[in-house]
Amino acid sequence: MTETLLDVNGVDVYYGLVQALRGLSIQVNAGERVALLGANGAGKTTTLRTISGMLAPRTGSITLGGNSIGGKPAYDVVREGVAHVPEGRALFAGMTVEENLSLGFASQKNDREILQFRREQVYNYFPILRERSKQAAGTLSGGEQQMLVIGRALMSAPRLLLVDELSLGLAPKIVAQIFEILETVNRDGTAVLIVEQFVHMALQNTDRAYVLRKGVVVDCKPSAELLGDPALIRSYLGEGTAA
């Protein structure tokens, strides 16, 4: 499977006056697992937001399976097969787990059977959610919330899953567990693009990685090659500033 699924080409993105991405280009092949690495402020989260339509690029193109999705609003992009698990989780805290999952299906044709089938699928990935299905999402623990948000994203049966800072505020054991499930999801055919500040964890769980710095791609290698690369660690601790 070397067919290009996502093609981001020469994208410029601004927050008001601040340019966050400068001519950024990345590709994700169908069924691939890709990581975006880089220090804070490098533009990783911005990249995900731009792909999912939360931000509109000023220039450049974004295509998914050949269809242009650049500049479309988020609620249209999700219909094309991109599901985004944003930073900070963005739950519907006052609604139940089941309702959260049903909302994840809002972009799909209203078919009760498919809805139930997908929900069962999510419950199989994350059995704890089945136990909590009638509970308000805001009362879940951090790990369960993260599982719920990923499960909710899977409800739209995406071709590409974007996951931002999966490990934020979670214990390492839980993070490892969620990464395992992501691997299963990926084996079932969904391409995954993750942003993760913990480099080693990200590299261990992906096939390929891009290294971003100040809104541009500075490196792109197979994850195995980058593991243990001292230059990468330096770029994280900021000592590569001069270079």
Binding site: Y15, N40, A106, S156, L170, F198, V199, Y236, L237
Partner: protein, 1032 residues
Amino acid sequence: MYVLSQFGLYLLLSLPLIGAYLMFAVGIVVIFRASRVLNLAHGAMAMLPAYVTYSFVKHGVPTFVALILGVLSGAALGMLVERTFVRPLARQGPTAQTVGTVAVFGLVVAAVAQFYGSGSVQAPRIFPDGGVTVSTAVLRWGQIGLFGVALASLGASLLLLRKTRLGMSMRGAAENPVAASLMGVNPLLMARLAWALGGALAGLGGILLAAVTSLDPYSLSLQMLPGFVAALIGGLGSLPGALAGAFIVGSIEGLVPAFGLVPGLRGFAGQVGVPEVVLTILGLVVLFLRGQRYSAAETSGGLSQNQAATITHSAYDPRHLPRRGGRRRFNRYVVLGLLVAWPYLPLGFLPVDKFSLLGDANQAGEYFLVAASLVLLTGWVGQISLAQAAFVGIGAFGTALLAKHMPMPFPVGMIAGGVLGGGVAAGLGVVALRVRGLYLAVATLIFAWMADAYLFIAPWFASGGNATLNVHSVGIQGTFPFFDFTDRQTFYFVVLAVCSTVMFGLLNLRDSKTGRAFAAVRGSETAAAALGVNVVRTKLFAFVTAGAIAGIAGNLALTNQTTVVSDQFSLQASLLFLAIAVVGGLRSMGGAVAAACVFAGLDELFFRIPSLGRLLQLVSAMLLAAVLLAYPGGLAALPNSFRNLARRLRESEFGQNVIVPAQERYATGKAALRARALALVTGEDNPLHRAAEAVRRFIPRRPATAGRTFTSIVVPPQDRQEPIAAETAETAEVDEPAPAATTRPRRPETETAEIAMQADNITVKFGGLTAVSEASIQVPRGQVVGLIGPNGAGKTTLFNAVSALNQPTTGTVRLFGEDVTGLAAHERAARGLARTFQVIQLFPELTVFDNLMVATHVHNPTGPMAHIVATATAIRAESAAEETCRRVVNLLGLDEIADRSAAGLPFGTLRRVEFARALVSGAPLVMLDEPASGLDDTETKQFADVLLQARDELDLSVLLIEHDVHMVTSTSDYIYVLDRGRIIASGKPEEITANPAVIAAYLGEPAEAEGAKPAKPKKRAAAAKPKESVLL
């Protein structure tokens, strides 16, 4: 027993009220949840459909069809309001949105009154005649039906929202619009549908209520207010809560007359309007009690939501920026108007009817006074009052009442009017202004409704709605030495004097510390508090002043006319005043003058052409809406627009392509003007200044100001002429006895140095999540201390705990040795703590210089009264503050942009301005939250240099959060590393970068992180203790 059964009967008869209020409350809640707007037009959205149904039935359409068409018209109106007002005005902020709903209210009411007349009509019956007889009373089918339909629509709404896909999407979009759009739900569409649902419910309620009472444009529009109270009781967010609220409100209103049966209460309970009084009190009590809850709900996430607006806000007009110098130099147009045009009017040089012209001028004067009070409250502070006419009425009726009992010569009566207006405003404000948000609008609306229904027709207060001034007590016609107020010409001069005094006072206020506090509160209550502004007191002061001005206007009206009637002070009049202020341009005094003249002229016009009838109401509502939507600058923005237009014409004529930004062109011209004016007014040769100096020599200096200065950067007011070196020594002595301070080595050993800030064992929990766990940090004086750690480690949370923006569960904070654990944010700011925010919190409408000036707040001991009069002390304090700011501007190299608005400056510059603002506060301890985020490498380096320079030159202590580790290691003397809420390491920069635990924390190797030895043995136990269960 008889009385009890009668109570039961009254309760039964209040069922239709409960039903109507329930429907209104449900609509209000649905709309509030979807767009966070208090829909003050809700009553109008109920009244219009009732008229639509009435019209259809009158034209022979079957009742049921007419009912459906009416409900649909309500839904359509709701969507129209959302599309035309609420959504577009979101860019101007919540104040504009709420004023927008007021405009809709005025527009619909005036249009319906124009079209159908203001009298009541017989609305069509929806349910059959007849009913059920219970004991002595008849409950008609229409009343039962209203209650039943209300319960049914509550059930249907609940079903829709809970069980259907659409309803779920609406709830999701209301709760988290971003997440909803990621799920494929269009949140804008959902908000519009929520407005449609709210409008349909309002319409249904209106139609059914009109069918059992009567229908006129006014009363039904105000019947939504009990619905508001019901919604507030229910917490504004919950439909079952609205049901409970409607039961409470409806049954109270229904039961009040029953108390007339209780012997002792007969006199009170039987009066007209008493149910309104009871509901008003209930509403205010609910606001008071529930206040804190709303506050908590609204502060969370507020910072990030406003991010874009804070930086890119551009509704900016350089003409309305405060002038320098602490005293007002009158706008030349206003001087022209006062000195030349107006006094000529009474002299009769104009070829018009002098008598009516004077009348118009006096009317304009009254309009101006009330509009000015709204410029202060709404334009400058951002709060909305819909009770300004009621305050005018309180001033008028109140002083008429007083004059019955005691002699009230002119100035005494006017002052009494002001005290009455201000006093009532104070009472209302204490209740409604503790709360973040625009609840003052609701509180004042309820109050105005009560005043209409009860106070202004109460025999004891308003002589039944028609008060006459006891002329002997005012001294009219010879009994008072100078003035005969009933003479238009005499009164004209009185009005002129009062108006100019108010205008001078308010403009002085605006250009002072208090005025900047207003702007700060309007911009961001959080940032204002962090700079030492007492937010609640600032809002309250503005509201009380606005109420006092309105009260003064009331006494003037009474004195001039000798008779006032309650109609003058209705809610419609309050809307008219708001329209005047908005049409003038809400921020501008000159605009208020112009708009007051325009509206007085309109008055005259409509008076002379009787066929136009009540068109004034409609025209003013239309003007309000049009200005709000299309030309938010109002009349005050006209000169600028003309200038721009002229420039464009000129440029196109000469074919010039070079476009100089209007602001820059203006700034250049303005700078020259200002320099000239400054030389004239504040120059040493100015006779006023010399006189002030002479007086000052006889007045002992106040020691208070000296005690409040912290570092050498702050110029004590009384010493600003002295050389800088002398000041440095003096202020150093003030806050630190050791004279060696200035010669101390730059990087002393931690153990021996004075501690600027010490936080011990801070734990912060959010619900079940422990964000910070037993963290202890300290900042020695004169050092830069870095705080680093991966995302979500709790750095900003710890910061907020130190600056009192959140509440730690445990731990103590000391500033310069003093325990400040129990103190609020502005109190800690006053003790020498300044901070910046991750998201830049500058006030976009102020210039860079004035942004800095806001931060001098804590050092300025003068109060608002001194600012109104612009006393010598106030002016001196202002000049000292300016001197301080100028020095920081020089130090950080901000000279070029000092007079430019903060909106539109490059990001890197904004970061420097924010740092400058922290310095200007004179705080010896500055906390910086990611100052380099969004900066490129060069800007980051520049910032680091400035930071070190400030540390050395100002003996500054700095706590720094930064993700750019290189920047932290190159600037910090000492570094703490936070990971998952705990301090895992601390030490010198070189120790930190070599620490394996730190590297592991950054790279996410859990095994290593847990096994590593933290730098401080003391912390080891805490760090090693597994707390995953908490973090989960």
